[in-house]
Symmetry: C2
Subunit: 651 residues, 2 copies
């Protein structure tokens, strides 16, 4: 039912297939009150392009008139809307009123009867103050109800809500159990009281716990999170659907929503908004409407603001700038900033979903930026994969302009005349060997002049960790002519360090794994450079074209001959995506690998990594680029897992 | 010509009076190309409420047809616009083309002839690479041309542009010299090459240097800064007018402007914008327009985005949240972040313009937040003004929830049973005595759970500075029961510390100056508290109502009897605003003090400070609240300097 289109970390642009059309996610579903449709769904369709709404099946069920109409004309007839409709079950009402008058199976059946596209089980809403024992019981009950609901859902897609209160382990457990059931959606329930009290950090912990337990292919709805303030972070962590009743609740209350908060009309001297509604109204107009109990236009403003935020997030994912976007948006409230800071505790998990390279540059927005998973990945890979050339000394440089090898060209030349040296930069990413300087994200990053002590301390710690390995007989930080004098004493020996060859070797090691450089280069290497930029374009090893270097991110595209070398010397599962027999023929012809045909996958592979597509006998059948990591490939039923660049014909 | 309406630091909402109407500032003037009015000024008026535009007098002058039309119908006829029109002089053309064909006096005269509302001198545009010697000569030439232009400006308002290249001292000098001339506006020129290269930090240094040299009443136009990315910071530092040619230049180039940057249409998958133009178009629509050379709608989008940013800034000033807004916006580009970080070097100057209290809470957005001038002011006042009660010990508490005295209630009670103690919080603002905890910004602040080492290090340093003064025989940080044990050994002596009295005394000292508390409290004090909140509302000293405490910011409003006490014991110029004779009668009647009637002012007074209005003989004639600081009062010709609360009748 759910297809991955583009991604940035756990954030994703997807398509949700429903009986009433395809829905692009992330998506915001306006909540429709069937009793009072101030802005009707069809108007929303016209005004905002809304293709999906959510309404409450319990409210319909409880009201005789609505119920009959829904039973006769279906919920689409009742709302007069031909788009997709999701219904909620009454769980939130049970939270508000303590109890409700419907049986769990009854309300699922009712939703099915009225032709809902996505119905929801009647799960148990644990309160934030509930003790763990109580919540555990609630979770078991929710799982039981879900498994019963699945049996009667029939054609209707079913949302089985993850509960578990404020206990991440219960959230994860609930998600794991619900993953075993044949349902289409897994909302996260019970977070409204946390959201209302700005307890964003706890919501973050809950979302991550749920994601860890849930199949990655399962779309996630964050129930009741209707304020655009939290959308960016929720999407970054893998939430795909939101619903908003806030647009109308706030409007009734005379409050306008904005990207970074909410304001009462009487607190405004300006309408700091460019939406069509604010364009034709003044503060006074809104005040008059509010006085007259007319909140329709304010609700429309609120929807404009909310939908625009979803669009900004989608654009940010598309650009690979979602982390940066979330960091910016997290300044809207100190508790959001707390939540942002807490993400560093989850970087190990988040790194698995982070793409290898991105379209856009890495913009540093504050000390939180060096805790992005992509920075953690570099730290990890540098210490695991990088192999230093054997030179007599290593000279460290301080952070500088990009690319480092150009910025420190003169110094490198002077030192190399004097002594056999290698060079490393004390970068915000950690120690960066000079020859990696064109690889994403090093060349493609922008940092402020002044760095926070938190960041410089991390840099210092990583440089220390590096130097403690004692890989060089002599290591020194560059400090001008004084260093030259010092190096002179070490012993005159012109450098053997060859930047070009080392660049190929090091990038290959970092990208494909330790030893990949040696394997790919072989004994006889020829580098073909761009005449225009002087940069390496192609790597020819023993007469065969093994690698191409991308100008955009300084990383390699694997050629068939290069893939053969890696395939020969790297044993399974390294770099492999194993496909099922049905798929082999098509991939050999150069067609993409679909997720449902993936049998296994190297768990070290990350989205956008170059991969070897093999059959069950480990014969190389194609090369391409992964669009998913292992758990995603094994979970998704539709969509492309590997974008194949070239197939290998059978011999 | 320029009136101050509301303010936040150097940022201000103002009114610029022109022959063609009043203009609310900050304002963005769309640049109109008289040769090609793609969106005409009257359309802009209709669509965006534009009341003022800018066009180029040199282009009109050079084109025979335009020149004749302008000479016959005036520039308002030429542009068919009845709003205010500013004209530029050809200086920018001299920067682009190296030379222009008009004499300095000629172009000023021409602008006057065609009825420009604000004309501009032909100043010398120094290039960013020009040597200081050369720039110095340019500045002298600019000053000379300005002083000559002033003689012939007649009824036309004149903009004398501040130059000085990248040299702050020359910028300041130029501003000082231009302040001596009778002109209406002082634009900052020559920053376009810096803006184009994202050299925001240097632009910040230039703006501040100019502001230091310039009369505060002189409106400042930041010439050529047309991208909304930099508007917030420029306004914070006191820029009032902007012009934008970017809206059309970018549109021609197929680029859409956004709050945080610019994007090419072909890089977009969404239109992350809620403006009316984006509402009716898709990415494909824009692409087609671009292909057909039709850039009108993209230009309109760019204007929507630019005007919305100005409105957001105005709302932020109104709310007293401009610093927070600038901090948020500065994450749009690492160089903007650099510029933000550099503001800490100017806090001493900026503090003079910072209001005493604000409408909105202090939201911490990152380590830059503790370098806001208001935090610097607290540090300064705490060490200069605060007087510790004489208790035997002082106990420090770590940061906690607000208000501190409530959060640490139990601890305070336990300790006070045991020993004569005073309490101080290791707050993000520095050491905060417990009794100040309801005063702005302490109670009205929100911070994240986790603070950056940069911030905690500053806190540590200030606590250390405090404790090094050795004011207490015994000082300790609270560490639970262990501390209690330790305090027990110091000696049992139930605390004499009286929170209420101390609160009145300490707030008064901090607000009015060292010793104010003693003076105002006298020997016989009665505190009247709110029955609802239990908070102090009124202070009665020796039977007279001397102070009222505001619930909103925990600060005092001065009553006449309190003012008399301070007036008696604080010698001039402390707390005084001295008014000219013409004004005395009116102020005694309770009318506001207008800036033009201010003769002198205590230079320690800040906007929103309580003041004593006196005549030249230092007789108390009124009390009220300052809306300006000293240099502003002495510079502004129109507008209110002191909002008088009560006049003192002559006896």
């Amino acid at each position: 039912m759910f297809e991955l289109v583009a991604r940035d970390c756990l954030g994703r642009i997807g398509v949700l297939h429903t009986k009433h059309g395809d829905i692009n996610t992330p998506v915001l579903l306006p909540v429709i009150n069937p009793n009072q449709m101030n802005i009707s769904p069809s108007e929303m369709k016209k005004l905002f392009g809304t293709n999906m709404v959510i309404t409450n099946a319990y409210i319909i069920y409880k009201n005789e008139e609505l119920r009959e109409k829904a039973q006769n004309q279906g919920v689409h007839g009742l709302l007069n809307f031909e788009g997709a409709i999701m219904t909620d079950s009454g769980t939130f009402q049970s939270h508000v009123y303590g109890d409700i008058e419907v049986e769990p199976q009854q309300i699922v059946q009712f939703q099915r009867e009225i032709g809902t596209d996505i119905g929801t089980i009647l799960d148990i809403f644990s309160e934030v103050d509930d003790k763990k024992e109580k919540v555990k019981k609630d979770v078991e009950q929710t799982i039981k109800r879900a498994s019963e609901a699945v049996k009667i859902k029939d054609e209707m897609a079913l949302a089985c809500t993850v509960q578990g209160g404020v206990f991440p382990e219960l959230r994860k457990y609930c998600a794991e159990e619900l993953s075993k059931l044949d349902c289409e959606l897994s909302p996260i329930g019970g977070v409204v009281p946390l959201m209302e009290n700005y307890r964003y950090k706890e919501v973050v912990d809950i979302i991550i716990a749920v994601k860890k337990g849930l199949l990655p292919s399962r779309p996630v709805h964050l129930f009741g999170a209707g304020h655009p303030m939290f959308f960016p972070m929720a999407v970054l962590l893998g939430c795909d659907l939101f619903d908003s009743a806030s647009y109308i609740k706030y409007a009734k209350d005379g409050r306008l929503m904005f990207q970074d908060g909410t304001r009462k009309i009487e607190e405004m001297m300006e309408l700091p908004c460019s939406c069509p509604i604010c364009n034709k109204n003044s503060v006074k107009d809104y005040l008059d409407m509010h006085k007259n109990g007319d909140y329709r236009e304010m609700a429309m403003h609120n929807l404009h603001v909310s939908f625009a935020e979803i669009k900004r997030i989608r654009q940010a994912i598309f650009e690979g700038r979602l982390w940066e976007y979330v960091e910016k948006r997290s300044r809207a409230h100190p508790n959001l900033l707390s939540a942002l800071k807490s993400l560093r505790h989850h970087k190990k998990y988040l790194e698995r979903f982070e793409t290898i390279s991105k379209k856009s540059a890495f913009f540093y927005t504050g000390p939180e930026s060096v805790h992005r998973p992509i920075v953690y990945r570099y730290e990890k890979r540098f210490f695991e994969r990088y192999q230093h050339p054997r030179t007599s000394v290593q000279v460290g440089f301080e952070e500088g302009r990009r690319p480092y090898s150009k910025y420190y060209k003169n110094e490198i030349e002077k030192i190399s005349e004097l002594v056999d040296a290698h060079f490393i930069v004390n970068s915000i990413f950690g120690p960066v060997p000079i020859e990696l300087d064109e690889m994403y994200p090093f060349a493609q990053s922008l940092i402020p002049d002044e760095l926070e002590p938190e960041t410089t301390e991390r840099m210092r710690r990583l440089m220390e960790k590096h130097s403690h390995r004692g890989l060089f007989p002599f290591a020194v930080m560059w400090d001008g002519d004084q260093t030259l004098g010092l190096l002179g004493e070490v012993g005159r020996q012109k450098s053997k360090f060859d930047m070009d060859t080392q660049r190929v070797k090091s990038v290959a090691d970092m990208q494909f794994g330790k030893g990949a450089g040696e394997i790919l280069l072989g004994k006889n290497v020829k580098l073909i450079k761009s005449k225009k930029t002087g940069k390496i374009r192609n790597v020819i090893s023993e007469g065969e074209h093994v690698l191409s270097m991308r100008a955009s991110d300084g990383m390699f595209t694997l050629k068939i001959e290069g893939a053969r070398k890696l395939h020969k010397d790297f044993f399974p599962p390294r770099l492999r995506v194993v496909v099922k027999d049905d798929s082999v023929h098509y991939n050999r012809e150069g067609m993409n690998v679909f997720a449902k045909f993936v049998d296994e996958c190297d768990e070290e592979l990350r989205p956008m990594d170059e991969v070897l597509v093999v059959n069950k006998n480990d014969d190389l059948i194609a090369i391409g680029r992964a669009l998913m990591n292992r758990e995603e490939m094994l979970s998704f039923k539709i969509g492309v897992a590997v974008k194949v660049r070239e197939g290998v014909k059978e011999v």
